[in-house]
């Protein structure tokens, strides 16, 4: 169960009307390494992971939903007042024909979202390694997105999201360390 806070995790501001950037950003919405894939992956894996790391996966999966909202807001703002002509020019003609301005879970190339983007192997190390890889892939995606925009406000939001990927990767790496730990060994700090 979740408690919803009616605000974004980090303020999303967009300076420039740039529907083309929305086309690229949608990669993080419905792409293989996007926030939806991340949220579903973690929230699904948490049932079968060892007790000691369920909390980490649960918290991070929840946060990914907050990131999903941020991306959605960015895409929405970037396309909100674009005309059909502008959508066409930005390469969003096919999207507009099918969805108008509605958001849809597909990647930057228009391929619809699929559950095959993530796995649940049931082997804790395997699953956590996939999670680490997913965070690094999302981090890289944010880097390429940052490279493609000059809008300082949009960049600011993307920077925040990228930094969260760094922190999540660190926490998953620690989860692996927790599972590697010898149960009876003395802990020294």
């Amino acid at each position: 169960m979740w408690v919803y806070e009616k605000k974004l995790q980090y303020p999303v501001r967009v300076n420039k009307c740039d529907p083309r950037m929305a086309k690229f950003l949608i990669e993080q919405y419905g792409g293989a390494d996007g926030e939806l894939a991340a949220a579903l992956r973690y929230l699904n894996q948490r049932y079968t992971l060892p007790d000691r790391v369920i909390g980490i996966v649960n918290d991070i999966g929840t946060e990914e939903l907050a990131h999903l909202e941020m991306i959605a807001t960015m895409v929405y703002k970037l396309t909100k007042d674009a005309t059909a002509e502008q959508m066409k020019e930005a390469g969003l003609g096919p999207h507009y024909a099918d969805h108008d301005k509605a958001l849809y879970f597909h990647n930057a190339a228009g391929v619809p979202f699929t559950a095959t983007y993530f796995n649940a192997k049931g082997d804790p190390i395997t699953d956590l390694y996939e999670d680490i890889a997913a965070e690094e892939k999302a981090r890289a995606t944010y880097q390429w997105l940052i490279n493609m925009t000059d809008d300082p406000d949009l960049k600011d939001g993307l920077q925040f999201l990228r930094e969260r990927e760094v922190v999540h990767s660190q926490r998953f790496r620690e989860a692996v360390e927790i599972l590697k730990e010898e149960r009876d060994a003395k802990r020294l700090f």
Partner: protein
Amino acid sequence: MYTYRKAYRPFVSPNDPCPPMWVKTYETPPQLYLGFQPYGMPQFPPMEALRWGTLWPALFAPYSNPYKQKRMGGYRWNGQMNGSRYTNS
């Protein structure tokens, strides 16, 4: 202290169709080096932490477009051949 961006010189052929990028870079962010985070590390004040996306300066590594730095990604080769040393100009 680690560098969070590494640079290397790719092979450049006289027959390459595009103008060469002499130096290529890749990111090596802090989580690659930290291991299990020790207790008692320094923290950002709460407001700054919310701003930067992390409570921990040790995990804070902002990214900027390497292609936008002064010419050729802004990295001058410092002559060392181990593939990881560069100076940011």
